[in-house]
Symmetry: C2
Subunit: 268 residues, 2 copies
């Protein structure tokens, strides 16, 4: 069985790609076979890892059944494989809207390769469209990267509702693992207030007698990923922060989160 | 004639909403009748200004012709009117995909009210889908809010290509006004490198004999908007930074940019 995680948040620029790349790299570095799927037409996860577009079939061709996931997955680092995004993905939402079973294209396409991977991380675009729905239909759980800002907080309700809809429909096992705080600036009053809001929301959801929701056992993951310019610099070299600045706070924060994910999984 | 500006960038979280709200508020405070159109299903510009959803017809109803722009525009501050976004907008991209002339729904719908406004600012979602295309078809010019980061820089080419397509098709007068640097941290090497890349790109585009493109007279606007937590705090009070923290750097940066836009317009 694989732990398939969708990194999703319709709010833009909250750290989805940075989190997908670094959780996948951290878990792979711990010796766990890991697949990263770039489901964003911006192809930023593909770019971040320095992958050459065109060296293998794109995720668009995997979605449409034109190529096998087996052939699209390429090894990029030890234990880390990628199914890359290319410019063809931008047309997917419009082109595939009328496909029968359009929501489970990804889930069906990757099923044959899952046995090879212990962890699968899916990067999503900043929207709740067909690509994100495909990621939710294929995943066991959702981690929502989030900046502790007011505007980002507003979208959490809609994010959870979307997960609930998918869990009630095509993917009953889907759960919300929790929130990953990104670009975190602990000292501001704003971030303290937003985090307090999130913590109290999830505490209530976990309470005895609360409704059974997909986020019933969700939490705010620790540590928060602190704002660290090394995380913004490393993609320009096609490197992870572990390769670019292994002593940076960004490296230690994501390494600790990767260890948590592996420990949780081993305990399941 | 109205100066209709689309604030657009498919990269998420670069400061589109914050820039739309504050340029509109700054220009309105200078006595220029201004309309802000929230074309993002997240409805963050609407939220930022403290507007009550449902108090007037939504932009979705204006797009579909179900309501007149005249009735949807509501006064929110002196000289500042809003056509608000609501949750119904999320379905627009899928629902309206088959409409004839779907790209110019917004342009046709707002034409009757333009004579009342000297400036119109349109906030876009983080994508290049139908809503953003409608904003580009209705606008005279594009301002692209941008963070001086590597990943954000990657999307500029695609952004310009999209503008070129619209200018070659439904909206020949569309021009790129330039880049608005947001959340700017001048001291980092990364931001200096990204800004230098942008400046040299636009200098070459302006050069004698360079191809005539919609970005031929584009530039990086000054001042850059510095990172300033007051800009992230003010939306939680439904206020602009001019109301919330008038002495903050965010207020002076956006006020200066507003003055530039008005001076440019008066000189045209
Ligand atoms: N902890 C951090 N500290 C500093 N910069 C960061 C951090 N995390 C991400 N960044 C930078 O912030 C920007 C936004 O992050 P990222 O692109 O990962 O967000 P995203 O949610 O994937 O955006 P989109 O919605 O466009 O897909 C990027 O330029 C990235 O390099
Ligand atoms: N100059 C600034 N300094 C500090 N925070 C800022 C600044 N500008 C914007 N912000 C904050 O950064 C976050 C992203 O900005 P904003 O939401 O305006 O970007 P956007 O491009 O509209 O995002 P989306 O792609 O989701 O529409 C918000 O929480 C906002 O409050
Ligand atoms: Mg991303
Ligand atoms: Mg926005």
């Amino acid at each position: 069985v694989s732990r398939v995680i969708a990194l999703m948040n319709q709010k833009g620029g909250v750290g989805k790609t940075t989190t997908t790349v670094h959780l996948a790299a951290a878990v792979a570095a711990m010796g766990r076979p890991t697949l990263l799927i770039d489901l964003d037409p911006q192809a930023h996860a593909t770019l971040h890892l320095g992958a050459t577009p065109g060296a293998a079939p794109s995720v668009y061709r995997v979605l449409t059944g034109d190529a096998r996931a087996e052939d699209a997955a390429r090894p990029l680092r030890s234990n880390l494989w990628l199914i890359a995004s290319e410019t063809d993905l931008a047309a997917a939402e419009a082109e595939l809207a009328a496909e029968p079973h359009r929501e489970t294209m990804l889930a069906r396409a990757i099923a044959p390769v899952l046995p090879r991977f212990e962890f699968v991380f899916i990067d999503c675009p900043p929207s709740l469209g067909l690509l994100t729905v495909n990621a939710l239909a294929a995943a066991r759980e959702v981690l929502a990267p989030m900046q502790a800002h007011f505007l980002a907080l507003q979208g959490v309700g809609k994010l959870l509702e979307t997960v609930r809809l998918i869990a009630a429909g095509v993917n009953p096992r889907l759960r919300v693992g929790g929130i990953i705080l990104c670009m975190h600036e602990d000292s501001t009053r704003l971030s303290k207030e937003v985090v307090a809001d999130l913590e109290s929301f999830f505490t209530q959801a976990r309470a005895e007698g609360a409704e059974d929701t997909p986020w019933k056992s969700a939490r705010v993951y620790r540590p928060a990923v602190r704002r660290n310019v090394k995380l913004a610099e490393c993609p320009s070299f096609g490197q992870t922060v572990f390769e670019y600045a292994p002593a940076a706070s960004g490296a230690s924060d994501y390494r600790a989160l990767g260890e948590t994910l592996v420990k949780e999984w081993d305990a399941m």
